[in-house]
Each structure stands twice: as C-alpha cells, then as structure tokens.
C-alpha cells in the first residue's frame, strides 16, 4: 500500500493504482478526456499532466502508477500552462457551434475552458474540415469536427460491448471516428458511447435537439427494464422525463446500461399514461373520473364480496413496499390468499447476455416472490385461469405492469380478466384499449404512479435490495399501489417493511452504499448542468 502526496494531501492507495485513479477516488480535480475508469488507458489526450517531484518532465497521471513517497501536484503554474495548451490544441480545430450543439452545458471542452482557458484563441488559420452528421447506426449520430479523438467510444465497443464496430480512420489532423466497412454502430449498448463522449461528437438520435440540458434536473433511480436493476439518472423537467443515463454502481452495473433501459422514460410520460380514473358499468364507460373516487367505488364492491370469490394479480414491476401493503390488505382484511403472480417472462427469466441484460423483464420479481412467501401465498397461475373460467372468481384486482412494452401477453390476459364480474384494474399505462374489448362487464380503472414518481425498493435478480427516492411527479392524480390498497380496504394498512429482516439484512444492502455517498459529493469534471 504505497503512500503518496497529491496536491499536499497524503494518500494511501492500493498497489498499482494510477495517479489519476487516486485523484479520482479522493475527489481531486484533474482535467482529462481519454481516461475513463471503466475503460483501458489510452493516454492520448495529454491533458492529465502532473508534476512529480524529481522528474523534470511532466507526466500523464493516467499511465503513471503511484509509488511509495511520490509527491505529485497538478496545480503548479507549469502544469496549468501545459493544460491550457493541451486544451488549446483540442480547441483549434473544434467548431464554435455551442449554440446548436446538443452537448452544450455538459461538454468537457466547455468545462475545461472555464477552468483553465478563458483566453482568446490565437488560431488564425482555417479550421480542418471533417464529416458532419454522420449516421453511425440506428441510435447515434457523429459530428467529426467536434470529435477530440479521445477514442473512448472505440475502446467501449472493443472492450465492453465487444462488438468492435468503431475505429479511427486516417491519421494526423484528418483522423476521424467511423464504423468499419459494412458495419454500423448497432448493439444493445450503443448509447453508452454517447454518455462517455466528452464532447458533442456523438449524440443520441433519441435525445438530440429535444431539450437543452440546463433546462433539465437529474435525480437517481433504479431502472425497471429488467431484473438487473441498473442504477440510473433520470433527467426531467416539468414537461416530463427526457432521458435516462447510467449511474455508476460497481456492484450492479458498473458505468453502463443497455439501450432498452434508456427507453423506460417513454412509458413514464403523460402521453402514454392513464391520467384519470374510469369506470365501465351497465355497458357504459364513464371517463375522467377522480382516481380516488373510482377506488372508493371499487372498495364498495370488494366490501360486499366474499373471500372465496376475490383474487389479486400482481406483476413484478412495483415496489416491495407496495406489495407489502396490498398483499397484507388481501390476506389480513379480505382474508384471502388468492394472490397470483403474473410473470410475463418466466420462461426467459434466467437468460443473461453476459453484461447487463437479463431475461426477466421485471425489476422486482424477487421482491414480489419474497413478499408472497412471507404471507404464505402459494398459488399457481393455472389455478386463477380455471377459477375465472369456472366463474368461481367474481372480483378480480389486477395491478398491471408499468412497462407494458415488455408484456406481450396483454391482449390474451385481458380476455381472461374479462371473465370476472368486477375487474378492478390498477394501471400506470393508458388503459383505453379496454374500451375496445366488449366482453368486460364492470371495470374500475385506477391510475397508478410509475417508478420515478414514488419511493420504494426493488430487489434485483441477485437479491440485492435497492432503495430509491421519488424523482418527480408526472401524473399528479395517480396513486401508488399502497395508496390504492388503503382506499380499497377503506382503512389504514399496518406495514412494517423496514423491520423485515429477510429483505433488509446486511448482506442484501446495496454493496456500494458508501461509494454512492461520496460520488454525490464528488465534483469531478463532468458534473452535469443543473437547473
């Protein structure tokens, strides 16, 4: 464990740690473009210059390993001058198109210019012309003139996605990023290249030109796209959510997330949501009802029902806390253990692509299973099917999926649910499709919140419980499943989830909780623009 002094601070680091890693881990600022903690070392941007006592030449921090007694600084005038020039070399051929560049506000060049630059450019010659608006594939667009050739994206496709689509072609100041002949940047992780691009060279087709980043706030969440439970940052404003990016968590997703996960913001926004309650009675749909009043009407129905003819269906898309409320409501108040698990991807649940994507397209299957087991619920889906077909179940409460895109069996299940006399449907997704199915008798649609609109816990495939906070409100009238359960029962439900030792024992706690806390304080150079 060598000890060193960096900018006057004494540090003890692991054997083999580079200077930049040591600085990064200890929240010290150092300019860099090509280095990324999740990729190999390229050493090409030459910005992370440091002065090492006893060495007349400046060294790059990313390829210099800390040795015992090393004294390092990156704040001497010599280093600052070198970084200023390093930055200037990056900027001389860079177009001054910040006003129309999507990266503006979260651009590495802008950040460094404010830190080290703030001079007038001495470049009087014509800038080098390169290709613009290069279509790299279905998700990403390249502007070569903005590119600083840090090679992060190339290394990402080589080392992480292992798809090798990208390369640097030509040499010198006419070198450009591009795809190899006959290939396009088309893989399940392609948008990570946009995240790690320190400048506006790679932009996301989905996000570009839709919002200036300084009009967005960000908050942390857990992706609900599959059972991996990647930690994400959700970027939003009062108009809704605009994008999702990965948030580093070495115990779960490292630095990355998949492209499918980035689409989860889409079902969260108003246009795809059930905004109000609605009801079907006597063959007539009544829409634009208050969510709470629909829930109270449904409560009347359940009050009149008996425990034998009532059933509850849950999907793995909600929080442990919500499961706990609604399951205990059924078990304790309605005295029924007719609780069923609607699992769209049971057959593929164990699939894994080796990096992040898992076959179980629910974030909290483990959490649901744990809550059901805790309440002694042991049911099979086929039991529900026969009970509905035989007419034994008359009152059915279904807590539907949020991310309906991954539920291919929606239409099929609808026909099954229509067999119940009273169908109480808790849904975040727009439920207008129910109106077209004429076999429904009495329907109560209660809008619910999505994962960004509530606090809670998801338990991922490995049993890691990840708590998250509310990000924002999209549909103000929507209820959490817990709130809806309270209204359905007509009284408060006593839930003691925090004390549940099975779920929140020490081993299951998020392994990087400590690391996460310090990352929050870490004002490293690519801190994103805030409102």
């Amino acid at each position: 464990m060598p000890k060193c002094t960096i900018n006057g601070v004494e540090l003890e680091v692991k054997e083999g740690t580079t200077i930049i890693q040591a600085m990064y881990d200890n929240h010290q600022k150092i300019a860099h473009y090509c280095w990324h903690p999740g990729l190999s070392i390229a050493g090409v941007c030459r910005l992370c210059m440091v002065e090492i006592e006893g060495n007349p030449r400046l060294q790059i921090a990313c390829n210099t390993v800390v040795t015992e007694g090393m004294k390092v600084n990156n704040n001497s005038p010599k280093v600052k001058e070198a970084v200023k020039w390093g930055l200037d070399f990056h900027l001389i051929n860079h177009p001054l198109d910040c006003p129309i560049c999507d990266q503006a506000g979260e651009c590495g060049l802008q950040e460094q210019y404010m830190e080290f630059g703030q001079y007038n450019s001495e470049m009087a010659e014509a800038k080098t012309k390169k290709h613009k608006v290069v279509d790299l594939g279905p998700t990403v667009v390249l502007d070569s003139e903005r590119c600083v050739l840090c090679s992060r994206c190339v290394r990402f496709t080589d080392e992480v996605s292992k798809t090798n689509e990208l390369g640097i072609f030509n040499r010198g100041d006419h070198a450009e990023i591009g795809t190899h002949a006959g290939k396009e940047l088309n893989n399940k992780y392609s948008l990570n290249t946009v995240d790690i691009c320190p400048v506006g060279a790679l932009t996301s087709k989905d996000f570009r030109f839709r919002q200036r980043v300084w009009y967005l706030k960000d908050s942390e969440a857990v992706c609900n796209g599959c059972s991996t439970g990647c930690n994400v940052k959700v970027y939003f404003n009062k108009e809704g959510v605009f994008r999702v990016k990965p948030k580093r968590n070495d115990a779960i997703n490292g630095h990355w997330m998949c492209d499918d996960g980035r689409n989860i913001y889409k079902f969260v926004n108003k246009e795809n949501r059930q905004l109000k309650g609605m009801k079907l009675a006597n063959g007539q749909w009544t829409v634009d009802l208050h969510a709470g009043s629909v829930a109270k009407d449904a409560a009347q129905v359940l009050k009149a029902a008996s425990s034998d003819d009532t059933a509850l269906v849950l999907t793995g898309q909600h929080t442990v806390e919500e499961y706990e409320s609604i399951v205990s409501a059924f078990v304790n108040q309605f005295k029924t253990k007719n609780v069923y698990h609607w699992w769209n991807s049971e057959k593929t649940a164990s699939d894994f692509d080796g990096l992040l994507i898992r076959g179980d397209k629910n974030p909290n299957t483990k959490g649901l299973q744990t809550v059901l087991a805790k309440h002694g619920v042991q049911t099979q889906w086929s039991q529900l099917e026969s009970a509905l077909n035989s007419g034994k179940i008359k009152n059915l409460v279904v807590v539907g999926p949020e991310n309906v895109g991954v539920y291919n069996d929606l239409a099929e299940k609808q026909n099954l649910f229509a067999k119940a006399h009273n169908f109480i449907f808790l849904t975040a997704a727009k439920a207008d499709v129910l109106k077209e199915n004429k076999s429904f008798k009495n329907v109560f649609v209660i809008p619910t919140k999505t994962f960004v609109e509530k606090a809670g816990t998801f338990v991922n495939h490995a049993g890691v419980a990840q708590q998250f906070k509310k990000v924002t409100t999209i549909v103000s009238e929507a209820l959490t499943v817990s709130e809806a359960a309270t209204l359905l029962v007509g009284q408060d439900i006593k839930v003691d989830i925090v004390a549940d030792q099975d779920l929140f024992n020490a081993e299951n706690k998020r392994a990087d909780q400590v690391a996460l806390d310090h990352r929050k304080k870490n004002e490293f150079i690519f801190q994103r623009g805030r409102l």
Binding site: R46, A82, W85, F89, E125, V148, L149, G172, D173
Partner: protein
C-alpha cells in the same frame, strides 16, 4: 581524415550480396564463433564496445538488451528497417549491397538475447531491399544459418521480412510493433517498454539495421577492437547520408567524431555551383538545424551534437546553401510532419497541422508578425508532451529555424516575400497541398 571502410569494406563488390561472395569475404565466421560463446558474454561484449543505436536515439545497444527479463519467456528481435527519416538512405544501401551482413548480425543478436524469431520490418517503398533480404534469408536457410539447430549448436532461429507501407510513424519502435501486429501503426504507451512487453506482448528488442550489422564487427574485433574508431562515448564508425546542395552526395562511412566540415567540403566535394554554405541539418529532418558557423566547428559524434543543441540522429546530413529560403525549407519540413503525425496524441495531431498552416501562411505572404512568436510557442508546447518523439521531431526544426534564421521569417512577414528569393510562395495553396 578520410573515409573509413569498416562495415562497408566490401560494398563495392557485387558478389558481396550473395552468400558465396559474402562467405568469401569473411561472412558467417562471427556467427560460428558466437554460437560457441555464452549469450551473456556476447551481451557484455556489445555493452563494452560502446555500440549505440544507429537509428536515431543513440541508446546503448548492450544496455537495451540488458532490459530483457531474465527468464525463459519467448522473446522477439525486430530489425527496424523502416528508414523514413527525411535525408536518410544508409540502411537501404546496407540491405541492397550486404543483406547477409544484417542477417548474420541478427542471428548473433538473436542468439545473445535468446530469441528464436526475428522480423525485419522494411519500409514499403524499398523494393530492392526487400528482394535482396528475402534472397539472403533463403540462402541462409539453405546453408543452415537459419532454422533448426543452427550449425549444430542447438540454437533455433527463424527470420522473416515484413513489408511496411511507408508510414514514417512505423519507424518509431512501438509504432512498428503495432504495425507488425496487424494494427494501425500507432506508438504504444510506455511503460511498459518493449523489452518487457513488446511484440505480441512478449519481450522485444528493436534495433536499427546498422546497429545489428555492427554486432558482427563487435564479435570479429572484440569490444576493444571495435573501439579503435570513434571516441569513448561515441565508439565505432557510422554511415552518414550526405544530401542537399553538395557536389558529391551519398553514403559515407566515417569514424564518429569526424568533423562535419570535412564531411561537407572533403568527402562531399563542397557546395554545389559555387554557392556558400548557409545551414546544415546534421541528423535527419528532426534534428535542429546548425548555422554555417556552427557546422564548421561541429564534429559528428553524440556528445558534440548534444552540446550544440542538436543530435546525430540517423546520420542524415542535409546541406543548405545560401540560395535557399529558410521559410520555404521549414515549410517543407512542417508539411512532412503534418502529413505523418499518426493523430493519436492531441498536441502532435493538432500542433503539426497548426505550425504547418502558420508556416505556409507566412510563405504565401499572408503572415502576421505575431505568427513568429506563435510558431515558437506552439512548437514549445508540442515538446515532451506526447507518447512518442514525433511531436518533438516536428517541433525542434521549427524552433531552431525560427530562432536561428529569424531575420528571414521577419522579412517574409514584413515584405510579403522571401529575403533570399525575392518572391512569395507560388505553389498551390495550403489547402490544395494537403487534401
């Protein structure tokens, strides 16, 4: 003092190219001798001979070999024959006239460092060198100097020629290794150094053609015998490629510490067309230029060159007479480095282009007075900031040209035309030149 025919003793004989002719003139005798020695003894002999790398950096060859890990890991010997430094053409002559000399030197070196496989990375344009080496290697295989159990010694060694594609950067040792591995010819980050982790991530030694050929002579005459020529720190002889405005350009072998003045005026026959000497680039285009006064005092050895703020480099002496415009000469060099930068490190990728553009804008009569200072500033910040030395190689001529011939640059900016020629640059515009 005159020329010394040490390595080049039999270069005038056409038969020296063939195995028979080579053997008739002492060929492969040293290999037989070396195979009976302990490898470490050969390394020590090379170390004691004071032989320094002839490719440009001038690093002690024996010491370089000593950096190899002392284990049984497979290791490679690479011969750097990607002779790309402008002004240099000595390796080409050696490979064309005496391919067996290199092959023998390489087998001895391979034996010394315990390498069973070597490659000769030859510059792509050198058709004749490649043909000559390939023939020589085939002959050596047939004669049992290459392959399994060489001369019954139990030592196996295979050798191949690899043809480059004429990229200057592939003459940088790690750039060459990248190219040999099939990747884009771009230098690699150091550390790790090639001696520890080089070709295919195995320990690798990269030596210049002339260096490896000289190993044979260290074997023949012993360390002390080799030191007969040259000085304590610059031992032996060296081939110099003399070009530019001299009467008799060509390759000359002289002992190190030979006076540059004699090289130009005796061996080279003086300046052509009765012109006067103005400047000399002493060690290939990367070496800072010397003024005529400096050149008259200089001796061709590592110490004197370092003392004069320049370097011996690859031994390419480019003579410039007083009818040449130094702005134009510099523009020629900046164009070269702009074209050859691999583009990996930002200061070099952008800096080579920037100094080239500034130089050409001065040359076209559109320069600004502050451009002269700017050239110096940009070049200064390209130095010592990159993975390999190409950036330094591009910066040093800029600094030396502008500093030593500042009046010519200032005149060009002020008057919009060359002080020497009286005209502005009439070639293509800068943009057309490059794209």
């Amino acid at each position: 003092m005159s020329e010394v025919k040490y390595l080049t003793e039999f270069y005038h004989l056409p038969e020296f190219k063939t195995l028979d002719g080579y053997k008739k003139n002492g060929g492969y005798k040293e290999l037989e001798k070396a195979l009976k020695m302990q490898p470490q003894a050969i390394i020590d002999e090379v170390k004691n001979s004071g032989l320094r790398g002839r490719g440009g950096a001038g690093f002690s060859t024996g010491m370089k070999w000593g950096f190899l890990p002392k284990n049984n890991e497979p290791r490679y010997l690479l011969c750097n024959a990607d002779e790309g430094e402008p002004g240099t053409f000595k390796d080409r002559m050696m490979m064309e006239r005496a391919p067996h000399q290199l092959v023998e030197g390489m087998i001895i070196s391979g034996f010394a460092i315990g390498s069973k496989k070597s490659y000769i990375y030859v510059r792509g344009e050198y058709d004749a060198s490649i043909a000559s080496l390939e023939t020589a290697i085939q002959e050596a295989y047939k004669a049992g100097y290459l392959g399994q159990n060489i001369l019954g010694s139990g030592f196996d060694h295979d050798m191949d020629v690899y043809r480059g594609a004429g990229a200057y950067i592939c003459g940088e040792e790690t750039g060459m290794i990248s190219s040999l591995e099939g990747s884009k010819g771009q230098p690699k980050l150091k550390p790790p150094f090639p001696a520890v982790q080089g070709y295919l991530k195995k320990p690798t030694i990269v030596n210049n053609v002339e260096t490896l050929a000289a190993v044979k002579y260290v074997m023949r005459d012993g360390a002390q015998g080799y030191r007969k020529y040259g000085t304590e720190k610059s031992a032996g002889t060296k081939l110099f490629s003399l070009s530019g405005n001299v009467v008799k350009p060509g390759n000359y072998e002289v002992p190190l510490a030979y006076p540059l003045k004699d090289m130009i005026f005796n061996l080279g026959g003086g300046i052509k067309n009765g012109k006067k000497l103005k400047a000399v680039i002493p060690g290939g285009s990367s070496a800072p230029v010397l003024t005529a006064d400096e050149a008259m005092k200089a001796t061709l050895d590592y110490e004197c060159m370092a003392q004069m703020g320049t370097m011996l480099g690859s031994g390419a002496i480019i003579v410039i007479d007083d009818s040449k415009c130094m702005v134009e000469c510099l523009a020629n060099l900046t164009h070269f480095y702009h074209h050859e930068s691999c583009g990996q490190c930002t200061p070099c990728r952008e800096g080579t282009g920037w100094v080239d553009k500034i130089t050409h804008s001065i040359l076209s009569g559109k320069g600004r007075m502050q451009d002269i200072e700017l050239l110096l500033k940009v070049a200064d910040n390209m130095k010592g900031k990159t993975i390999c030395a190409l950036s330094d190689a591009a910066a040093l001529p800029v600094i030396s040209f502008v500093t030593k011939f500042r009046d010519e640059f200032e005149y060009f900016v002020r008057e919009g035309k060359s002080k020497v020629k009286g005209t502005a640059y009439k070639g293509h515009s800068h943009a057309q030149m490059h794209h």
